[in-house]
Amino acid sequence: MITVTDLRKVYQQGDRTVVALDGVSLHVEAGQIHGIIGHSGAGKSTLVRCLTLLDRPTSGSVAVNNKELANVSDTDLRTARRRIGMVFQHANLMDSRTTAQNVAFPLELIGTPKSTINEKVSALLELVGLTNFADAYPSQLSGGQRQRVGIARALSSDPDVLLCDEPTSALDPKTTDEILALIKSVRDRLNLTVLIITHEMNVVKQACDSVSLLEAGRIVEHGDIEKVVANPAGRLSQALLPMPGDLPAQLPAGTVLDLLYSGASAAEPIISSISRTFNLDVNVLAGSVENLGEHQFAHLRIQLPEGSDINAITAHLIANGVAVTLKEAK
C-alpha cells in the first residue's frame, strides 16, 4: 500500500521557480497496479525522484504501509529506500556484473552472508525465468532479459512497492507484453503494490488496475480503469479507447451517434437490440470493441437512418447502460 499526500516539489532555477509537483495525492491499495500517465514536462520524472527520495520533496509525505518515507532523518534514508524497489526504463544494470551479481547488488550493500545471497538470487532468477543466464553479462542479454534482471534486482530487497519508470518504453511490442505479464505475475505472487510511470496507453490498458493522469504537476483525473474509460467526456477515456479515423467524407443521410458501453453490457447485442426493437438498419461507421482488464469495452460511431426516433433510441440505449453522444444530426 502506498499513500502519497499533497506532495509538492519546487525547483529553484536561478531566480525562476519551477513548481514541478503541485500537490500530488495518491493512494494505491496493496496488490494493485497503478499507472501514472502524463505528457512530457508533466512531472513524471520528478514524481519518481521524490518517491525514491533521490530528491527530497519540498513538502508532503510518501508512506508505504503507513510507514513514512519522505520525512525520515538523513541517516534512515537508506533503509527507507529499501521499501521501494525500482525498475528503470533502460534497466540500469551494472555492465561489469553478471546477471547473478546484479541481482545480488542490493544484498551485498547490507552485508548479507554469501550463502543467503546465493539462495535468494537463485530464487529470484527462477521467478523471472533467467536461471540459465545467471553468469551472462548484461551486454549478452536482450532488452527484455535485461529488464527481467532489473525486476529481479528490484525485488531482492523485499520491497513493499515496486516502482516502474517507463519499464517498457525501450522494448518492442512483443517484449513489452512479456514484461507486463511478468510484472502482473510478480504482483500476484508477492501481493506487491506496483506503480507504473509511462506515456504508453497500451501499458495502462494491458497491465493497470487503476490510473492517474498527471498534468502540470497535478493529478487531473484518476480512478479504476473501468471507471475512467466509461466516462466518455474524460481525457483518459478518449486516450485509452479512441475512435479510429475521421468521419468518411460522404455519408448517407442520417444521424451519427457515439456509443460507449462497457462491462457486462458490452457483451450484449446492443446494435442488434436497436435494429430489432426499432426495426431499422444501424450502420457502424467506425469504432472498436476490446477487452481491458476484466472488462469489455465498446466505443462505436453509428449512423441511424433518416427519420429514426432519436429520442426513443437514445433513451433505450441509456437504459441499457450505454453512454451516448450526439455527433451529427441531419
Binding site: M94, S96, P106
Partner: protein, 226 residues
Amino acid sequence: MDFFNDLMTNPGITKAMWPAFLETLQMVGISGLFTVVVGLPLGILLLNTAKGGLTPNRGLNVLLSGIIVNITRSIPFAILMVSLIPLASALVGTSLGPIAASVSLTIGTIPFFARLVETALRDVSAGKIDAALVMGSTRMQVVRKVLVPEAMPGIIAATTTTLVTLIGYSAMAGLVGGGGLGRLAYNYGFQRYDATIMIVTIVIIVLLVQIVQVLGDWFARLVDHR
C-alpha cells in the same frame, strides 16, 4: 655491413642499452605506480566534488580542478621537471638517476591521469548511480561498487595513455640527469654523434610504447563487458 657490425660491437649498445632500458622501466614503473595511487582518488574527488557529483563542494573543486590540476597541466613538463629537481633531492635523498626522476615524472603525470580518470568516471551513466542510490548504497559504496568497476575499461585506457606519456617524459628526464634510454640517446646518440645508438634507442622506445599500448588495449577489452 657497417651498421650491423656496429650493432654487435658498440659498447653503447652491448653494454649500456640493457641497464638503460631497465632504468627506463624503473622510472616508468615507479612513477606509473604512484601516479595511479594518487591520481585515482584525485580523479574520483574531481568528479564528486563537481556540481551534480555525489558530494558537491564548490570550494574544494575549484581548488583541485581549477587550480591544482589545471595549472599543473599547463606547465610544460620540461619546465616542471627542472624546477622540481630540488624537491626530488629533498624527497628521495638523491637528484640523480631514475628514482629522482620519478619524483618529477609522478608530479607531472598525476594531474593528467586524474583528469583522464575523471572523464572515464563521468561516462558512467547517471542512471546506474541513481539505481545504486535507490537501492540504498552509501556514497562510498557508489564509488567502490559502481563508479570504479563500471569505469574500469576507461581507467585502464587512462593508465595506458599515462604510461605512454611517462615513457615520453622519461626520455626528456634523461636530458637533465634522469637515467634511462633518454640519457643514453642524449649522451651517446646526440652528443657523441652515434647514429647507431640513436636508432637502436628509438626502435626500443617505439617497441616499448607499442607493447604497452597493445597490452593496455587487451587488458581494457578483457574487463570490458559493455
